[in-house]
């Protein structure tokens, strides 16, 4: 339904050209949850912004690749067409609801605005629908709250309001960029439950961008792991956690402190730092930090090696890594 293929994005800055995305490809089908997992600088948010067409150009430039929604190419589409797809085809929610919601308009207004502009609804109908949506996202006293301003909502409520806004035009795909990172863990659980429920009811595709392996394990059908602007591994959730196929994924999992473990011994760490996107190392971008790097890793960029149906890893030694 939504397909991203070989996307390349550059950021042209005074200090040089940062290669933020270096050939990112993934796809989402109806009713499916794809988690895009990565740390800061991996490019996970930039990919989503490129799909939505909200990258700041300059300094960001899409230099190659394609984004297709139901087969229609979006990158070369007209601004009007992109706007039409935005919100009713592919919608997005962000990490910080406080800055994503306009503080000078009521929450109701912000939801109704889209309905009136894009669906031509009357003010009364839009108001009714807005209240329905706030109800859908479990905001109590929706009828009163629809007239309130974002700052009058608590953090979790604001996130729900943002979800309501995103759902107003019944999008087929929802991209959630770190939707719960700034929230308390009990609120996070509520929001994730909500997203899952909505997704099931509407057979919506969900792209969940996060750095939290726990959230990913609970929610995702498939996972794409990103590093330095590339997808280094893609697999279904169970396979990924059972036997990761890329050294980065494996190292990441081993470095996590576990809620269910009383072990207090030193955590396994990944030495070094993520690379600056202005100076990505040659060959495999992970090789300076990889515990099993060999000579070839510093020279050849690894191709995406298939490891089974719907699985793949960009490592010269993917098959060995998978076997453990």
């Amino acid at each position: 339904m939504l397909e991203v293929e070989d996307l390349h994005v550059e950021f042209r800055t005074r200090d040089g050209v940062a290669r933020v995305l270096n050939g990112v490809s993934y796809r989402v089908a109806a009713g499916e949850t794809l988690a895009v997992l990565g740390e800061s600088g991996s490019g996970k948010s930039v990919t989503a912004q490129a799909v939505m067409g909200i990258l700041d150009t300059p300094p960001a430039f899409v230099t190659w690749g394609s984004v297709r929604f139901h087969g229609e190419e979006l990158l070369t589409a007209s601004p009007e067409r992109r706007r039409a797809v935005r919100a009713s085809g592919v919608a997005m929610i962000f990490q910080d609801a406080l800055s994503a919601l306009n503080p000078v308009f009521t929450v109701g207004f912000q939801i109704e605005e889209q309905l009136r502009l894009r669906r031509g609804m009357s003010r009364k109908d839009a108001r009714t629908r807005a209240i329905e949506l706030l109800d859908l996202v479990r905001i109590p006293s929706a009828r009163q709250r629809v007239r309130e301003y974002p700052h009058q909502f608590s953090g979790g409520m604001r996130q729900r309001a943002m979800i309501a806004m995103a759902l107003a035009l019944n999008p087929e795909v929802l991209i959630a960029d770190e939707p719960t990172t700034a929230l308390d863990v009990t609120v996070q659980a509520q929001i994730m439950d909500l997203l899952r429920e909505i997704q099931r009811e509407r057979s919506m595709g969900l792209v969940l961008i996060t750095h939290d392996l726990g959230v990913v394990a609970e929610v995702a059908d498939r996972i794409a792991v990103m590093y330095a602007g590339r997808i280094v591994e893609e697999a279904d959730a169970v396979s990924l956690f059972r036997s990761p196929g890329h050294p980065y994924t494996a190292a990441l999992m081993r470095s996590l402190p576990r809620l269910d473990s009383s072990k207090h011994s030193a955590l396994e760490t990944i030495k070094g730092l993520p690379p600056s996107l202005l100076r990505i190392p040659p060959g495999c971008p992970f090789h300076p930090r990889c515990p099993r790097a060999e000579a070839v890793c510093a020279v050849d960029v690894p191709a995406f090696v298939p490891l089974g149906p719907g699985r793949g890893s960009a490592c010269h030694f993917a098959e060995e890594v998978v076997r453990g």
Binding site: S154, A189, M192, S255, L256, P257, L259, S262, T269
Partner: protein
């Protein structure tokens, strides 16, 4: 054995004022509302809670960056809060803090060497003349940084490295207790592990005690010997790490633990799911009796009239009239 640090009934209220010319106090934010705990030498006490529970305020008051409203704290048996002048300054050598944000906790106009060396400038009796430079290099080395980089400025380092600089600064005076206020929350996952390992190894090497404040329960479990769970300014449950994580008795602790996602997809649908409803009440006007009752599935009439005390219920202290063990963590 006497405890290194003993806190009794610590209270910190912030006045809510109105008016520009003549400020009137119309209420109090009851950030910390009667907290008691102890810390033994070489031990790590983890303090967990969600936003608004008062754990950061607790850190500020413990470090005497904010005066307490009431309550006492004994450090090595001596009262901490009445200290003044030279005695206060001497006490500061024993208790230090590591802050959360690596981007604002270092003065951007000072070199790393000056930042880590500042403790010696303030307390010249600790480092005899001429040994300062050597000590600074040693500290940088101990935290895993290149000592040659002491002429660099903070903005030339990554977040994880800056946090190490902050740790080096806290370590300089060889304190006995370090209060860690969310030291890894602002770091990437792969860097968190590095800093956590560093904190653990420093504790072993220098015989430190930590008050480790964080919201990430997995991180806290990994580093702590004992854990205190806070809610709206009070400790609702406290015990050893095993007791809290494997035998929690307070409903809030249970809800908190059940909400933490575990990185194991095969546990999907198998976990004990507890979901809280409603929002956290305001610390200005907390609920009467048990503060958690507005969101608790066990709440009865007695919960509104009588505040449950933090006393031993089923093995370790828990502040609930209906405390009951429930195994939530898989």
């Amino acid at each position: 054995m006497a405890e290194l640090l003993e806190v009794r009934d610590l209270v910190k209220h912030f006045p809510v004022t109105r008016g520009v010319l003549f400020r009137r106090t119309i209420g109090q934010v009851r950030a910390v509302d009667g907290v008691s705990f102890s810390l033994a030498a070489g031990e790590t006490l983890g303090v967990v809670g969600e936003s608004g529970c008062g754990k950061s305020t607790l850190a500020q008051v413990l470090m005497r960056l904010e005066p307490p409203t009431s309550g006492t704290a004994l450090f090595e048996g001596e009262p901490m809060f009445p200290l003044r002048g030279a005695a206060l300054k001497a006490w500061r050598r024993d208790m230090q803090i590591v802050l959360q944000d690596p981007y604002t906790s270092l003065n951007p106009r000072m070199t790393v060497g000056d930042i880590v060396g500042e403790p010696f400038d303030i307390h010249p009796e600790v480092a005899p003349r001429g040994s300062r430079a050597g000590r600074v290099r040693e500290l940088l080395d101990v935290v895993g940084l290149n000592p040659e980089h002491l002429n660099r400025y903070p903005h030339q380092f990554s977040g994880g490295q800056r946090q190490r600089i902050g740790i080096a600064r806290a370590l300089a005076l060889r304190p006995k207790v370090i209060v860690c206020d969310e030291p890894v929350s602002a770091l990437d996952v792969s860097i968190q592990a590095q800093v956590m390992n560093l904190l653990a190894s420093l504790q072993a090497e220098f015989g430190l005690s930590y008050v480790f404040i964080a919201h990430d329960l997995s991180v806290v479990r990994h580093l702590s010997d004992r854990v205190a769970v806070m809610y709206l300014g009070k400790i609702v449950e406290i015990g050893t790490e095993r007791e809290i994580y494997e035998h929690p008795t307070h409903p809030y602790t249970q809800a908190l633990l059940s909400a933490v996602p575990v990185p194991d997809p095969e546990l999907r649908g198998q976990r004990d799911v507890i979901r809280l409803t409603g929002d956290v009440p305001s610390p200005i006007d907390p609920p009467s009796g048990c503060r958690f009752r507005t969101r608790c599935w066990k709440a009865r009439d007695v919960c509104a009239t009588e505040e449950p005390l933090l006393v031993d219920r089923g093995g370790h202290p828990s502040a609930c009239h209906f405390a009951e063990e429930r195994h939530v963590v898989p």
